[in-house]
Amino acid sequence: MANIAAQRIKREFKEVIKSEEVAKCAIKVELVNDSYTELKGEIAGPPDTPYEGGTFILEIKVPETYPFNPPKVRFMTKIWHPNISSVTGAICLDILKDQWAAAMTLRTVLLSLQALLSAAEPDDPQDAVVAKQYRENLEMFQITARHWTNVYAGGPHVNSDCDDKIRRLVDMGIEEHQARAALSSYNWDLERATEQLFS
């Protein structure tokens, strides 16, 4: 790994560890291996959002040419958000693409992602299905996002209605996550989700 990149990551690592956000348990970075090429990030779901109470794990890959090229970041924790793929965890955020500036750091990236969770950009969607729901049925979106936070990110809000519907599909032999994804896409309409799964 190039000298600058390693040097930078080491320094940034310290920066995040001693930052005040860590004290508030809002963001965290961990090493995955010793070479500083791969890191594990963690952000807390911001308060007053459906993600509140959840902890979201991020995969951060640092390229050779860091900090002149942006780090590659992806959500490992499954999440229901217009700008994040519900399938792959890929993120649509300008600073991770062409708006990246060499003077930005892991801390600013993690904080920007946290900000993205509180303020979605449905006009620039990564996941078209989620974005559609966000625009057309905000309440349904919030229910879904909260449910996903509960199941995948350890959020506190259990939604028994959702769980019931998923169980009915699981009883029919559908894998649990597949059932959840289908129901989420069809605004928790059991009939349409079933139709889609068996067609």
Partner: protein, 500 residues
């Protein structure tokens, strides 16, 4: 997404290279301008890479005598206005100058702004910390633009190198600080870059964007040719590069009279659609709806921003429509349109019949193209023949008719080739029948000429052959002109009706 946009340039070393070369150098402007014209009064100049740089410097100076700001700032402004001097002057003198500089992402040279205070490291007094590598340097090893963001020399070099070599950005590299839009000027870039290879590429990018932005300039499309053509107004006319390649200035294709640029482009797209490569291209790429650059999507969301530095169109990958409405009223492109689907089915049936017709024309077009390639070989054999005849008591001048005949044969082939493109799109009417007669006549004469040239020339039949060849090529040339004149007249009088 990847946009293949730098194939135009060859690294033939035609460019001034090496260290300490600046764009803003004063080169003695010995005027060696030479106006050419290919067949009629359409005049143009052939520029070498050095001439282009000179031309660019002249443009900058010309504007600078009026606006009186630093040369590097003038360049950024000119680039912002796609090298349209009038537009720049207009905005400079009529509009709000502050806004103008802001839009073009440069610091207003008439104003001293409060520069960002350098970050004083608390470890050592009198040192600064570089925000990129986090190392501490004495102030002499730190540098920055007018905006006041300072970084160490090594980081600047790395940053510019990444932008230039990986992203292919030239004129529009911004300051490395977060959210700072101020652009790096060429002098600074050349000063901060170390690797001569990167410098050369940077110069290429800058000259390239100058030529691409400038409507009156066009690179010679011939492979490995580094000349550009400069005209005083844009028209679909033939121009001949110093390398010998003759092409249409408006579209850059081989000179294609009688068919016009738009139809030719359509035709070529159609022809290309048949090959294997194009199957792959069709399956994996799309074209930018604004500049037609071919784009491969290799990740990310559907909001595309064309990477062609002179285009930067915002559009949706799915429907190729502008991005704007997607933002405000949600995707129209996810709705299956029943009427459109029916139309598509009808179109499919029609296309079967159209295919037959297309193959007919394509076949003939390809034939002439193939023959044209063979005729280029003919030059070699004709040269041998000419030498042989000179051995048989004929003077040099007496045998020149053979070369002339091959010249005309090639011209006729080329014209015939494009008449099939024209004919393919033409709707039948009285004039199109006359056109087809002309075409038939020219084709028959051309084939005869070709046949005569293939014959062995012996002492006995020499006089006879010469007479025949001369008569035939004069006839061919005449018929070719007649055909072209007829088509041109039709353009003027709106005779031609197109089928697609």
């Amino acid at each position: 997404m990847n946009v293949d946009d730098d194939t135009l340039y060859d690294d033939s070393g035609n460019e001034t290279s090496g260290d300490d070369v600046d764009f803003v150098i004063d080169v003695d402007n010995a005027s060696n301008k030479e106006l050419h014209s290919y067949d009629d009064e359409y005049q143009y100049e052939v520029l070498s890479t050095d001439d282009i740089v000179q031309h660019m410097v002249d443009c900058i100076k010309e504007v600078n005598t009026v606006v009186q700001i630093p040369l590097t700032t003038t360049r950024i402004l000119l680039n912002y206005f796609n090298w349209d001097k009038e537009k720049l002057m207009e905005r400079f003198f009529d509009g709000n100058q502050d806004d103008l500089f802001k839009e073009a992402h440069v610091i207003n040279p008439f104003k001293k702004v409060n520069a960002v205070k350098p970050k004083i490291s608390n470890k050592l007094l009198g040192t600064e910390e570089c925000d990129i590598c986090f190392m501490v340097f004495p102030p002499t090893q730190m540098t920055g633009l007018e905006c006041g963001h300072r970084f160490c020399y090594q980081c600047w070099n790395e940053y510019l190198t990444t932008k230039i070599m990986e992203e292919g950005v030239g004129q529009t590299i911004a300051c490395a600080a977060h959210n700072c839009p101020i652009l790096v000027d060429d002098q600074t870039a050349m000063r901060l870059l170390k690797d001569p290879r990167v410098k050369l590429k940077y110069q290429h990018l800058i000259t390239n964007s100058f030529v691409e932005c400038n409507r009156l300039l066009r690179w010679c499309p011939s492979p490995d040719c580094s000349f550009a053509i400069k005209v005083s107004y844009v028209e679909a006319k033939p121009v001949a590069c110093r390398c010998g390649h003759v092409f249409c200035f408006a579209c850059g294709e081989n000179w294609h009279d009688p068919v016009r640029c738009g139809l030719l482009k359509k035709w070529q797209k159609k022809c290309d659609d048949d090959s294997e490569t194009s199957n792959w291209i069709a399956a994996n790429t799309k074209e930018c709806p604004k500049c037609n650059a071919t784009i491969e999507k290799d990740g990310g969301c559907n909001h595309m921003i064309c990477k062609n530095q002179n285009c930067k169109a915002d559009f949706c990958w799915v429907c190729l429509g502008p991005w704007e409405p997607h933002g405000s009223s949600w995707y129209n492109c996810n709705r299956y349109d029943e009427d459109e689907a029916k139309a598509a089915r009808d179109a499919q049936e029609k296309s079967r019949a159209a295919l037959q017709r297309y193959l007919f024309y394509c076949n003939r077009y390809m034939n002439h193209m193939q023959s044209l390639r063979f005729e280029h070989k003919l030059y070699a054999s004709v040269k041998d023949k000419m030498e042989e005849m000179q051995q048989h008591n004929m003077s040099w001048i007496e045998v020149q008719f053979l070369k002339k005949a091959v010249d005309i044969l090639c011209q006729c082939r080329q014209t015939l080739m494009y008449t099939y493109v024209f004919a393919y799109y033409l709707k039948k009417n009285n004039q199109s029948v006359i056109f087809e007669d002309n075409q038939k006549d020219l084709e028959r004469a051309t084939e005869l000429l070709s046949e005569y040239l293939e014959r062995d020339i012996t002492q006995e039949n020499l006089i006879d052959i010469k007479q025949k060849v001369q008569d035939k090529y004069r006839y061919c040339d005449g018929r070719r002109m007649a055909l072209l004149d007829h088509v041109h007249e039709g353009y003027e009088k709106d005779w031609w009706v197109y089928s697609e």
